[in-house]
């Protein structure tokens, strides 16, 4: 199948890059050269990085809807003292709390709401984790909390856009597509960016799209938010009627037809298409095995909680993430459905949601650690915004982009550490504030990329993930 290389290519590789619509920023080298132009050419990745990377890949665990920080990782004793009373300062103007007519007469509405969960310190680091996350406590010393996150957008659409693309309104390339563009894939038979069950709404495909970057940097997706992970697959990967050997014969015939064409006209794009068929065939051989988890051991299944109803689906996602990581995918996102938005029914909702992800996430961390993958994999747990310390209705919290918590773990991260703080009520980020742009800058930094130098020229301007913002949060680095 490598015969095509003996054909002479009359034009340069540079032409290739142009015909595929790529311009290159300072570092970018990326998937394309590996995928199409020439397997013979060495990857430039290690030479072109801005600095030595700590992480080779990222797993981004996205909790869609807004996880409450004051019920999870950011304990605030003042909430008990002020429970049912007014905040001693002003909340965000843009929130719904006061608007909802049917809530106006509710005495609890807009007043401080204490947490239902008990907070305890865990591990040698004494990290505060609430009883909402019993399994995660085992990893207390592996985590690094950022408790002073803030972002833009009080509605989901804007904030979901911010966490994925660094923009709350305009179409921009997603974080994963920037990483794919910057680093390419470790495995030439697989894409650099995979998103498992990505959000369908709140920007949908924008959140894993490539925008104006070359299209192949967008995520390859498995299923979509709301679909069952067990049914999720990569589109067009399987032929519904022909088996592989039959297809191989068909492909050989196709390549004969193509090569005759190429021999007549020598256009390099035609050679590119010929190669793309070969690569597709290889992908088709590899990827289904990657998605199939039936050979995983009983111990692994138990570790992730794959066989119990509440955890089964998210466990499946986390396990796929580990498998893709192992196979060399650079950037993996695993998303929950849009379930964390507890304007009401906080106790029930958060309990149910945490139950479904706590053990799978803990299992993933344990598994990565056992396999030595956590050393060069960065795990990021995040949510588009937090929730208010004041009540919406009697048992709910509104969106809060002004202060919330994310945690990091793995490669290059100062584990057993907590960075930044919100005010005494957990409303506004106050000490060592970290904006979403800063988090993005930090993730790129860990991958060996300077966020100010990874650029792409589009419509006459050099764009970057962090726009004109962003500072690496040095304090969380090991």
């Amino acid at each position: 199948m490598k015969q095509c290389e003996k054909f002479t290519i009359p034009q340069t590789r540079r032409h290739w890059l142009q015909t595929t619509g790529c311009g290159f920023g300072a570092v970018a080298f990326h998937a394309l050269s590996q995928q199409i132009a020439a397997a013979a050419e060495p990857s430039l990745s290690t030479q072109a990085l801005h600095h030595t990377p700590k992480a080779k890949r990222v797993i981004f665990l996205f909790m869609h809807g807004g996880v409450s920080q004051v019920d999870s990782f950011d304990p605030k004793p003042m909430l008990k003292q002020y429970d049912g009373k007014d905040l001693p300062f002003k909340g965000l103007d843009t929130l719904d709390i006061a608007l909802k007519d049917n809530l106006k007469n509710n005495p609890k509405n807009g007043r401080v709401l204490d947490t239902t969960w008990k907070f305890r310190q865990h591990g040698e680091s004494g990290a505060w984790i609430s009883d909402l996350w019993p399994h995660l406590t085992k990893h207390a010393d592996d985590l690094c909390f950022i408790k002073s996150m803030h972002t833009r957008g009080t509605s989901h659409g804007q904030a979901v856009g911010m966490i994925h693309t660094g923009n709350d309104n305009l179409l921009r390339p997603s974080l994963g597509s920037w990483v794919s563009y910057g680093l390419g894939t470790e495995n030439e038979n697989l894409p650099g960016f995979v998103s498992i069950t990505p959000p369908a709404g709140h920007g949908g495909a924008r959140n894993y799209g490539a925008a104006f970057l070359p299209a192949h940097h967008q995520a390859t997706t498995l299923g979509h938010s709301g679909s069952k992970t067990a049914d999720a697959t990569i589109r067009f990967l399987k032929n519904p009627t022909r088996d592989l050997s039959e297809q191989q014969r068909q492909l050989e015939m196709l390549q004969q037809v193509n090569k005759k064409h190429f021999a007549q006209n020598h256009h390099p794009q035609i050679d590119g298409v010929i190669r793309s068929y070969e690569m597709a065939f290889r992908m088709q051989n590899i990827a289904p095995d990657l998605i199939e988890i039936k050979n995983e051991s009983k111990a692994t299944r138990e570790l992730y909680g794959l066989d119990q109803k509440p955890t089964a689906d998210f466990a499946h996602r986390c396990l796929l993430a580990r498998r893709f990581c192992e196979a060399g995918v650079r950037y993996l996102q695993v998303s929950t459905p849009y379930v964390w938005d507890q304007h009401g029914g906080l106790v029930k909702g958060h309990t149910k949601n945490a139950l479904s992800v706590d053990q799978p996430i803990s299992g993933l961390l344990t598994d990565l650690k056992q396999r030595g993958l956590l050393e060069d994999t960065l795990v990021v747990w995040g949510t588009e915004f937090g929730r208010t310390p004041v009540a919406q209705g009697t048992n709910g919290r509104d969106h809060n982009p002004a202060g919330f918590t994310v945690w990091l773990s793995g490669a290059g991260i100062k584990s057993g550490y907590s960075h930044g703080a919100t005010d005494d009520f957990g409303y506004y980020a106050q000490e060592n504030k970290v904006h979403m742009h800063d988090l993005h800058a930090t993730i790129l930094h860990l991958l060996g990329i300077d966020h100010e130098k990874l650029t792409y020229r589009y419509a006459g301007r050099d764009f970057r993930l962090t726009d004109v913002y962003g500072e690496v949060v040095k304090d969380v680095l090991a």
């Binding site: 509605s155 990967l237 037809v257 193509n258 005759k260 035609i270 068929y277």
Partner: protein
């Protein structure tokens, strides 16, 4: 003009600062030393520690244009003006920023300074802001020189006299013409996006050889330009730059049920060869232009879909920001699509590369901001905006239908009102009703409508597995004290609670009653009587005078205490004992000789009315822009750094200075109008140096795979220079002088030898073929691949289509992700690709994989990628397999012998005769498969799929 105003204002500010400084110098000598000491001990260290990192020459950063390492630095200030106003802490932006009380910035970005430090700054400023630090040159932004900018090629007037007189003289093509087969295929695919059928190919080849290639092209160009498929190909190119879509995308991905009208408008415009200047005028200001009749009016209104189909952040809670963002998107789209300029770059600062000052941007933004795009609210949620839709004018038949419907609706409304009046009379008789909605509940009751015999929109259920205790309390005001019958409704039926505990509070105290809710309510199928009770005002002790004023209440409570089944809470009816008979008679007219209980009637009428409203014959609507009225029409203030609340000088509405003649700059926008008509006039003024060049270049690109300016949406300084500047002007000039006719321009291009050259590679010093010494070999577009396959197999549905998203309902994609409607079905669609649903975020894969552009962005030049996903689609998609099978069925029926069958396939799919080795190899392949017990038809289908997947099919040579 506005630039000047802005600069004057800035000067003024500087003067004020300096004046203030002089005043201070005059009277402050006595305590100079202590103030200096204060600066040195408190202020300088704080500045060094917290501010220099981003605001000093040494750090090489002046974020926000501000330097704080010298006195001049803060005097001149940054983008928002002077940072410190001596003696005026409240006017000093630095203090507002560190105090987090400013509107635009909170400094330092990584956390608040201590209260002590903030207080120090306040004292320092109040005492006159003594600062001994001299030197440091203030970074005053360079004044943009628009006049100098006009010397750039694209802003220069078009040439009007030329050294050459045809395309071929400019380009001097060297390659011989392409073969008849290749040329025919190229011409057909470029003009109508479909390949020639064998008859057309034969005819083309005959003229090609008997007369000349030029003649064949000439004759067929006319034929193809008059086919409706021409518009279906060419409108799609405009849809790329108009970022057309059938859904909103953004936050709430709602369907655009009416966007198709704009799409079909575009097809129609290209087919009738609407002059391009008119085409632009209608899309910018169609709703404001005069119209000859209803049809013309509708068409022009629909044209403004150009402004409307953009993605919008409808849930943005900061509505002023949302309206600015929407107008920004429109300005940017007009810039790229029509002018080839990236105007959006000038939102936050003067354009970094092109001569476009921020004031020019806001001059145009004011026009679009005075236009209604987003409109109203959706889902009754004030946070969710809708968009403007306007009813179109209708034909008489439809008008009659509408009238009939209206009449019927009115009748039902009248009847409903009559019944409701009757019901009210009942209440006047002393019967009082209270639904669960008005009662006070504790705990989480579940709303339900499962049992039809309930009052109001729903009733409440305490489910049987509820562990928490739920209760409901009806406190019902009565007109006067007296004896009443208390009735409850709970639907009744199997499975409900048999021991529902009710407590009635009355004059004699509380009575608890245990009621079996499985019983069918005996009174009119609705009510169950709890018995008769006396209600009186509660005694108040020693103030008998007020006895009269006190309200009488009946109080009924229900809870799930000691229950095991579901408890239902709905309504309470209180009937005066002496009125029971009357009430029941009206309520149950069976006794009174009529057929139905009153509430059943009311309910039926309400249902009927609702059905009528949902099935209302639609008065056709379209997404149409409109001018705002009143205060919403007007100039905008510049937003400094693009921030909504950071207001700068007012920018009078107008156009780009760099592309305006002196006359155009004088245009004034009439009072109370947005200015879109004037904007449209300015864009289509024959003297506008950009509009004609940009469109001529777009047309050229479709025939060569690359524009004369390869950055088709950017004619600015960061764009690429034209490879043939004179030719571009020649094309633009002829385009304008031929009445902006796109078809005429196309004729000129395809009838040139330059276009007709073959694409064989030649060794050349120009490997990228920028100078077109041969034709280019181009990948066929997504639509061309799909439509060709459909046409060749005879599966293409050639009908013009209307909405592609009608079946989707309100959400194109639900936020929950439960339904991903747009993805699955498109593989079964058989219409031309232009009619496929363009759901933002879920473009049909058969198109998206082959580089259909992202509909969020203006895309004049599509990406040309070669990725394995395309190969996977050709190998594995249901669509390609279905089509291969259909083709196989067709040719197997036509031919008994394999050789002619294979010849036929080559002729129809690759548009060329099969060569001998093609036939022998294909025969061998099909033979092997049939020997392996494949049917002939399956084997041929497998080979058809090979031809559809082949590079020869996927490229245009």
């Amino acid at each position: 003009m506005d630039q000047v105003q802005w600069s004057i204002m800035r000067q003024l500010l500087i003067t004020i600062v300096i004046t203030a400084h002089c005043i201070f110098s005059a009277h402050a000598h006595s305590d100079d030393a202590s103030k200096l000491e204060f600066f040195e001990s408190k202020i300088r260290p704080a500045l060094v520690k917290h501010c220099y990192r981003c605001h000093s020459v040494k750090a090489g950063k002046s974020k926000g244009g501000l330097l704080l390492d010298s006195r001049t630095g803060w005097q001149v200030g940054g983008d928002s003006g002077p940072a410190v106003v001596p003696f005026q802490p409240q006017e000093s932006l630095v203090l507002l920023a560190i105090n987090h009380s400013g509107e635009s910035s909170e400094m330092p970005p990584d956390g608040r300074l201590s209260k002590k430090v903030v207080q120090d700054f306040e004292s320092w400023i109040r005492d006159g802001a003594v600062d001994p630090r001299n030197g440091g040159s203030p970074t005053v932004a360079e004044q943009m020189d628009v006049e100098a900018g006009k010397t750039f090629w694209s802003f220069q007037p078009r040439r009007t006299s030329f050294t050459q007189s045809s395309i071929d003289e400019f380009v001097r093509p060297e390659a011989p013409p392409a073969t008849a087969n290749k040329l025919a295929r190229r011409l057909f695919l470029d003009l109508i996006g479909l390949p020639p059928n064998p008859d057309e190919l034969h005819e083309f080849a005959r003229i090609y050889s008997e007369i000349s290639p030029e003649k064949a092209v000439e004759i067929f160009t006319e034929k193809l330009l008059s086919r409706k498929e021409f518009g279906e190909k060419w409108a799609r190119h405009w849809m790329d730059v108009a970022r057309y879509a059938d859904s909103n995308g953004g936050d709430f991905n709602l369907t655009f049920p009416e966007s198709w009208r704009y799409r079909n408008y575009l097809i129609d415009a290209f087919n009738r060869d609407m002059p391009y200047d008119q085409f632009i005028r209608e899309q910018i200001a169609g709703d404001l232009l005069p119209a000859s009749d209803a049809e013309d009016r509708n068409r022009k209104m629909i044209a403004t879909g150009f402004l409307m189909v953009a993605p919008k952040m409808l849930t943005e809670r900061d509505k002023p920001k949302m309206h600015l963002d929407i107008a920004d998107e429109q300005v940017d789209t007009i810039g790229r699509a029509i002018l080839g300029l990236t105007l959006g770059c000038a939102r936050c600062h003067d354009h970094k590369f092109d001569p476009i000052p921020t004031a020019d941007y806001y001059a145009m933004l004011g026009i679009l901001h005075s236009t209604r795009t987003a409109d109203g609210i959706l889902m009754g949620n004030v946070n969710v905006s809708g968009w403007k839709e306007t009813e179109l004018e209708v034909d008489p038949e439809r008008r009659q239908l509408l009238a009939q419907h209206e009449k019927r609706t009115k009748n039902i409304e009248a009847e409903l009102r009559r019944k409701q009046d009757e019901h009210q009379k009942l209440q006047a008789a002393g019967s009082v009703l209270m639904d669960d909605l008005a009662a006070e509940t504790t705990g989480m009751w579940r709303e339900s409508t499962f049992r039809p015999n309930h009052i109001g929109s729903h009733y409440l259920v305490a489910d049987k597995d509820k562990k928490e205790s739920l209760s409901i309390n009806w406190k019902i005001p009565l007109p006067k004290p007296g004896q009443y019958e208390v009735r409850v409704s709970f639907g009744g039926g199997q499975g409900l609670e048999k021991k529902a505990p009710y407590v009635v509070t009355h004059a004699e105290g509380k009575t608890e009653l245990i009621i079996d809710q499985t019983v069918k309510p005996p009174i009119n199928g609705m009510w169950y009587s709890l018995g008769q009770f006396t209600f009186s005002a509660s005694p108040t002790g020693n103030d008998p005078d007020k006895e009269q004023e006190r309200t009488v209440f009946a109080q009924v409570e229900l809870s799930n205490r000691n229950t095991t089944g579901p408890v239902i809470a709905d309504a309470i009816q209180i009937v005066p004992v002496d009125a029971i008979q009357n009430v029941d008679a009206v309520q149950n007219p069976e006794q009174a000789g009529s057929s139905r209980p009153l509430f059943v009637d009311i309910k039926r009428l309400q249902t009927e009315l609702k059905a009528l409203q949902t099935n209302k014959p639609k008065r056709a609507k379209a997404m149409v822009a409109a001018d705002h009225s009143g205060e919403q029409v007007g100039d905008l203030q510049i937003r400094i750094r693009g921030e909504t609340n950071n207001l700068g000088a007012r920018a009078e509405r107008g156009f780009l200075q760099v592309a305006s003649s002196v006359d155009a700059q004088k245009t004034r926008i009439p009072e109370g109008q947005s200015g879109r008509v004037e904007l449209a006039d300015w864009l289509t003024n024959p003297e506008n140096p950009l509009t004609s060049r940009v469109m001529a270049n777009r047309v050229w690109q479709q025939f060569f795979g690359r524009g004369i300016v390869s950055t088709t949406d950017n004619f600015g300084i960061r764009g690429t220079a034209p490879t043939h500047p004179e030719l571009l002007d020649f094309l633009a000039e002829t385009f304008v002088s031929d009445g902006w006719s796109v078809k005429s321009l196309i004729r000129k291009v395809v009838q040139s030898k330059t276009y007709q050259q073959n694409s064989a590679l030649v060794s050349s010093s120009d490997p990228e073929n920028r100078y077109l010494r041969r034709q280019n070999c181009r990948p066929a577009s997504a639509e061309t691949i799909r439509d060709s396959i459909l046409a060749i197999t005879g599966q293409l549905d050639r009908q013009q289509q209307e909405s592609a998203v009608e079946s989707l309902g309100m959400y194109a994609i639900e936020t929950s992700g439960k339904r991903d409607a747009s993805l699955g079905k498109t593989g079964d669609l058989r219409q031309r690709s232009i009619y496929m649903p363009v759901i933002r975020g879920a473009v049909p894969p058969s198109l998206a994989i082959f580089d259909l552009p992202n509909p969020d962005l203006v895309t004049g030049t599509r990406a040309e990628t070669t990725v394995p996903t395309q190969a996977l689609f050709m190998m594995n998609s249901q669509f390609v397999q279905d089509m291969s099978r259909a083709m196989s069925v067709k040719v197997c029926a036509d031919h008994d012998e394999l050789a002619p069958l294979i010849r036929d396939l080559y002729q129809r799919i690759l548009i060329r005769p099969a060569e001998e080795d093609d036939i022998s190899k294909a025969k061998e392949y099909i033979g092997v498969l049939t020997r392996e017990r494949k049917s002939q038809q399956e084997a041929v289908a497998s080979f058809v799929q090979i031809l559809f997947s082949s590079t020869e099919f996927r490229f245009i040579e």
